[in-house]
Symmetry: C2
Subunit: 352 residues, 2 copies
Amino acid sequence: MGQDPIRVAQFGLGPIGLGCVAAVLRRNDALQLVGAIDTDPAKAGRDVGELLDGTPVGVVVADDADQALERSGPDVVIHTTSSFLGRVADQLECCLRHGAHVISSTEELLFPWHRHPELSAGLDRASRERGVSLLGSGVNPGFVMDSLALAASGVCRELRCVEARRVVDAGKRRLPLQRKVGAGSSAEEFEARKRAGTLGHIGLVESLRLVAHGLGWPLERVEERLDPVLAEVDRSTEHLSICAGDVAGIHHTARGFVAGVQRISLDLRMYVGAEAPHDHVRLDGEPHVELRVPGGIFGDSATVAVLLNAVPRLIEARPGLLTMLDLPLLRSCGSVPAEGPTGRAARGAPSA
Amino acid sequence: MGQDPIRVAQFGLGPIGLGCVAAVLRRNDALQLVGAIDTDPAKAGRDVGELLDGTPVGVVVADDADQALERSGPDVVIHTTSSFLGRVADQLECCLRHGAHVISSTEELLFPWHRHPELSAGLDRASRERGVSLLGSGVNPGFVMDSLALAASGVCRELRCVEARRVVDAGKRRLPLQRKVGAGSSAEEFEARKRAGTLGHIGLVESLRLVAHGLGWPLERVEERLDPVLAEVDRSTEHLSICAGDVAGIHHTARGFVAGVQRISLDLRMYVGAEAPHDHVRLDGEPHVELRVPGGIFGDSATVAVLLNAVPRLIEARPGLLTMLDLPLLRSCGSVPAEGPTGRAARGAPSA
């Protein structure tokens, strides 16, 4: 920081990716947008600024990652294309081959070693060979149900149990998230989509494994459970309507056992109409620690923030496939505030 | 971890230091106590276990640090002797000279570069020359009013203001803390002790400077203020009595300004009879983040925890005089839990 700006390319131009582009452009003191990649024919060939507010910024969206990375030579790629590592491993390897550090929102990449041991080993090798680092993160997984709990545990001399809970009112989120939690489905459709694996939150077990890894706790068993939350009354959002008795969203849990005892419990509720959304961490230890985030941390803008804030930290980190445990403390690296703070009323605005 | 235990020496055997000794002994899978140092004639020459629960542990307290370090050859020294860097710089240099990493509870060492630029440069040089790292930390300063706020800022894309507040009921803490906040003094005695600098919380401005440093905000001005909190009614603790109108404790604030605008505000209240003790972080940014710790993080056991949990992270870190921003995520590295978790009732026990 403070010297030449870091050259950043954006790979994936969905809502999160475009949010990253906007954030990179706002931080032109420290970051320089040098490339934008998306295979969508409706986006490729257009100036990426046109996809934001219409103002060209001089960076044309490429659909060929290899060519675009060769031409633009980024220091860091921000990657936001899919939740599943199997679908993006080629994209990540392409970035590494071009000598770029990669921060990715791919949920399975948060702690991929258990679900994808061979892909993980390959990506780790490719990163080390090129002397760059690769990290999966975001707000969930990446912060509220894993890193935040681990950070809070830093004040515990002994620790017996970790519990993290997140309650999100899906009615206030984007349509894709409402669809992802099955809002508006019948209970039968929910079961069918659950069996097909097209429903629910990706990364909960990865969060749990990261927590266990960070604490040095050898997990012997993980139990995961995904249930529908049914609407008790008719509900409607900006995007869809739900009849009473149909699905409002999900209740997703993961529990980790060490030596026969449940030691880690993650509990995620995302449904339309959830009351009192919040994040909550409870550590049963010496001392006990309880930590609440009233309103909960707002997912979309926070995910963009985590990806952006990881950029300077990635460059400092060791080469390889990393986890959040390998980075120095992630903190806001937004521009220095120049205008006055907003008033108390604005600060009291709902954050979820 | 998992290989040879880390050899630890304890320098300073007050309540926090003895807490560290007890914690090191409990973690004999990963840590080995190899030395104990204190200049108090009542402690020197005795087995350090006698100062705990009376059971000898085979480590005799030495009053000569140089000899003790030469003989014991620790990997890491946990240093807990004084709040003021000027008083301990020689002790720290002695540890570094013997090739030991040092984690210290010295409050001024959290971010010493501004108050003690020459001492800091000398300690940094000495650390680098020996290839070891030196860090000041604890729970406050070190966590609740600085690292926790910085960690929460990791989910902010933009950040305008940081506020941290800590309210501690000094009546539930040790007598030295009650004395440190002036509990039981008259208002005149408080003013005299304040002028003499023997009162109040050390490290609040260091917390503020660490936050500013972590965010890359150039502070142009810091305002610090220390006021008494007067008892509205007669109060008594296990250790002392306070008449209505006399001092119950302190209200200590530090505010940081960037380009004429207040951007960081730290507010610490420690007094006998404080109601609803808690820690609170509020970030005015995108998104807004609010984080509450009901009851507050209990200072004494948490400080021991932070020092202990820093031990394995220090060894991984780069050489030099470090801050909390240079360490990988600090998390609990207590032993793997072997017994069942405590029940809900136990978990609901007051934590402050």
